[in-house]
Symmetry: C2
Subunit: 205 residues, 2 copies
């Protein structure tokens, strides 16, 4: 399957080059963690221009998602729903989470990533860093106020519990409840974590 | 490390025999799931008396915990705290969970079990069955009432979220909060899931 022909100098934007960048990125992320890796250092080691890495992957979180072969990148999904009213952030995050994870093609590599994080310390540190920097820190910045990071961490923990029950262990009935019932069960805890009240239009429970 | 001397007939209660029973149990649990395996069928395949399996492991959940090399068996820990008032069940479960998982010797094999469940479908089915039969069903039976199983499943999911945040991904600050702060953060959601009010002595928030 591998192209064995020797290559010299700076590589161009072929599928082969993309795969080689991802090999370098995966190895460096696992060896050094998320924070220490830069697009520039990956480009240098892969022998390509920084612009090519940016062109392929956009950002470090994009490179991370591609390196772990995630069909849907949770950090990028979150970025999409952080815009908008804080009061309805729990609803938007929950809707997006169900949309992503209810698709088995997205769920399989995400589940494998979590399994790896539980079993391999280097993978655990990497996934933890990504969740903290790209998700919890962003939510904390968005909600602001006292204890923002702690509230964001509790919020993320409730999402983790839903993922564990519905998509990892497939615990019934949570695994097969429709989206509106999941919302009824989980939104109160998610809102409590962020200390936001239900949005007015949904306040009638 | 393995004792290669040939053995014949029914085995006696040596450490070697115990290890052989566990080998059989581990393989059968993964191949057939939790429900289908009986102490009797494991004893038969291992060529030992049923009484010896009972003597070593006590129950099927005990055999499961030993087969997965769990230093602390969550199903047995839960059984210990299911006695007592339903109103204070969330407190007892949370205290027990922190007691078990805060000890790294307990946490490591439990984390490996969850990682395996996320990565290997057979392990996933097995762990799911154990959690549903030995934990969610028991909690549902204890709390009773409408939707008992759904409430027990949500409750378990909140525990899963705490485990994911504090012990798998080590998300700060949840990973390093003291027990009373974890209780302040998580008990409201745990109580909401079971639909129990705070116990009177702690009702002042």
């Amino acid at each position: 399957m591998m192209n064995k022909s020797p290559r010299r100098g700076r590589r161009t934007g072929s599928p082969d080059t993309r795969a080689q960048i991802l090999d370098v990125a995966r190895r460096r992320f696992l060896a050094e963690g998320y924070e220490a890796v830069t697009l520039r250092s990956v480009a240098a080691e892969a022998g390509v221009d920084l612009a090519l890495v940016s062109y392929f992957f956009g950002s470090k979180k994009g490179l991370f998602g591609a390196a772990l072969a995630l069909a849907a990148n949770p950090a990028e999904s979150l970025a999409l729903v952080l815009e908008g009213e804080v009061e309805t952030l729990p609803e938007r995050v929950l809707t997006q989470l169900l949309h992503v994870w209810d698709d088995p093609e997205n769920a399989a590599p995400l589940r494998a990533m979590l399994g790896g994080a539980a079993q391999d310390p280097a993978a655990g540190v990497l996934v933890s860093e990504v969740v903290q920097r790209e998700m919890i820190d962003r939510i904390a910045a968005r909600i602001g106020g006292a204890d923002a990071r702690r509230r964001a961490c509790e919020f993320a923990s409730h999402l983790g519990g839903l993922i564990m029950a519905r998509y990892v262990l497939h615990l019934e009935p949570v695994a097969s409840l429709p989206a509106d019932e999941i919302a009824r069960s989980y939104l109160p805890a998610m809102r409590h974590a962020l200390r936001v009240r239900p949005a007015p239009s949904r306040a009638g429970r």
